[in-house]
Amino acid sequence: MMDEGRKIRVLVAKPGLDGHDRGAKVVARALRDAGMEVIYTGLRQTPEQIVAAAIQEDVDVVAMSILSGAHNYLFPRVTQLLRERGADDVLVVGGGIIPDEDIPGLQECGIAAVFTPGTSTGDTVKFIRENIKR
């Protein structure tokens, strides 16, 4: 029997104190409507909580949304913890209010792609489908 039941599993997470969740919820729904299984952590998650959830849920993707300017602090912590726990086969993407000049640095830290305002959720779906690592 082959991997017949495989579904893309995504953890949509809101790190930090940011309460902007409209985008995260829209993205979560769009991913669901694209046939993925989406686990939403809710607001105010620490990087440790996000990584623990990602591992227990064995997700293919961690998708984080930050609109409060704390991305340079929080995103890299999540990718670092994932690496430390041997979960670097998880695709990590981010989105929100992220200044252009911050994006290269985030990519270097292991954020595969950053989606900013105006992105169509279709592009996000496509990116995830084409880039999941397993």
Binding site: M1, G5, R29, R32, Q45, E57
Partner: protein, 340 residues
């Protein structure tokens, strides 16, 4: 990691391995039957508790608090939370974890969310396997939160050692649910949201229908049983049923009030199952239902995978469509072909 390594790490409760193993079982990835064979001998130690009840009744909140309670007693808890998969897109929003997320940093709690993936009955087809993984990994309790949609919930009865049925005041159709046969599966009744008006009425309703049920069937006998049980098994169940009187407990899951009592009741139920030798019967029931399901699955797969049967099915279907034979006759013919 190859699968042997995953299994051995999972058996020593290494979180990442447990989680990967669950995926292998849930997705039926290549080789999952070998994996299953390797872990199965280690199962049967956990106390499997099913939490069922209508959406919004507070199941997730309750599971969160139950986990906290067992943790405070030094026990470990695996949680399987099932949410519905959309039949249209195949996707799912798995929202239960949100209420339990505070345990995520506790190594003694493992939470896994699942979609029903097209399966009816309040669980996913793979739930039983996932429970086995958590059991084999050594969690003392495995708590399952079902989808919670009424009628189809009875499936949990054949999976769990103890079923806690959650009801709340003010849902309007709660009485409906109680009368619909779901009642019979409850080993422990939880009336949650006791801070709301109408609790007494719900308690009274439950008591009344328990009394009614007690008159003829005892509290066992899940409607899902696929085949007639052996005479001895039925007898054992009857004894057990008489010994255990499902308690009706009031909780306020939000604050944790009454949750310790729920845990106590679940433990008491387990003790009762053990002393009455009824645990054997429960486990037998689960094994039987699982075996039948897998067999029928395999047969179905045999049908779907095999070019010969597919061809035959097509031919038969045309005959049915042309009204040359009836669908039952076609079904019987096809079965002959598969079984032979």
């Amino acid at each position: 990691m190859d699968w042997q390594e995953i299994v051995s790490r999972a058996l020593s409760r290494e979180v990442r391995a447990v989680s990967r193993l669950i995926s292998i079982v849930e997705d039926r990835r290549a080789g999952f039957e070998d994996v299953y064979a390797a872990i199965y001998p280690r199962t049967g130690r956990a106390h499997v508790i099913g939490i069922t009840g209508p959406p919004g009744s507070g199941k997730s909140t309750l599971v969160d608090k139950i986990a906290a309670e067992y943790r405070s007693r030094g026990k470990t808890v695996g949680i399987v939370a099932v949410d519905p998969t959309s039949p249209f897109t195949g996707g799912a929003l798995l929202g239960d974890r949100l209420r339990m997320q505070r345990h995520s940093l506790d190594n003694g709690v493992f939470i896994r969310s699942m979609g029903t993936r097209g399966h009816l009955g309040g669980l996913s087809r793979a739930t039983s396997g996932v429970v086995d993984v958590l059991d084999a990994a050594g969690y003392d309790y495995v708590v399952i939160e079902t989808v919670g949609v009424g009628q189809s919930e009875v499936e949990i009865a054949s999976l769990a050692d103890t079923v806690a049925l959650v009801q709340v005041p003010g849902l309007g159709d709660d009485i409906q649910v109680i009368k619909a046969g779901v009642m019979e599966i409850g080993d422990v009744f939880v009336v949650n949201k006791k801070d709301r008006p109408g609790v007494e009425r719900v308690v009274a309703e439950i008591r009344m229908s328990l009394d009614l049920a007690g008159k003829y069937s005892g509290h066992h006998g899940p409607a899902t049983a696929m085949a007639a049980a052996t005479a001895t098994a039925t007898a054992t169940a009857a004894i057990a049923a008489n010994a255990w009187h499902p308690p009706i407990l009031q909780t306020m899951a939000e604050s944790g009030e009454g949750v310790a009592e729920v845990c106590e009741a679940c433990d008491a139920h387990m003790r009762c199952l053990v002393t009455d030798n009824a645990l054997v019967e429960r486990r037998f029931r689960r094994a039987r239902s699982e075996t039948m399901k897998i067999a029928s699955d395999l047969i179905w797969r045999g049908l779907a995978d095999d070019a010969r049967t597919l061809g035959a099915a097509e031919g038969l279907a045309w005959k049915v469509a042309r009204r040359e034979i009836d669908p039952y006759a076609a079904g019987r013919d096809l079965r002959e072909l598969v079984v032979s």
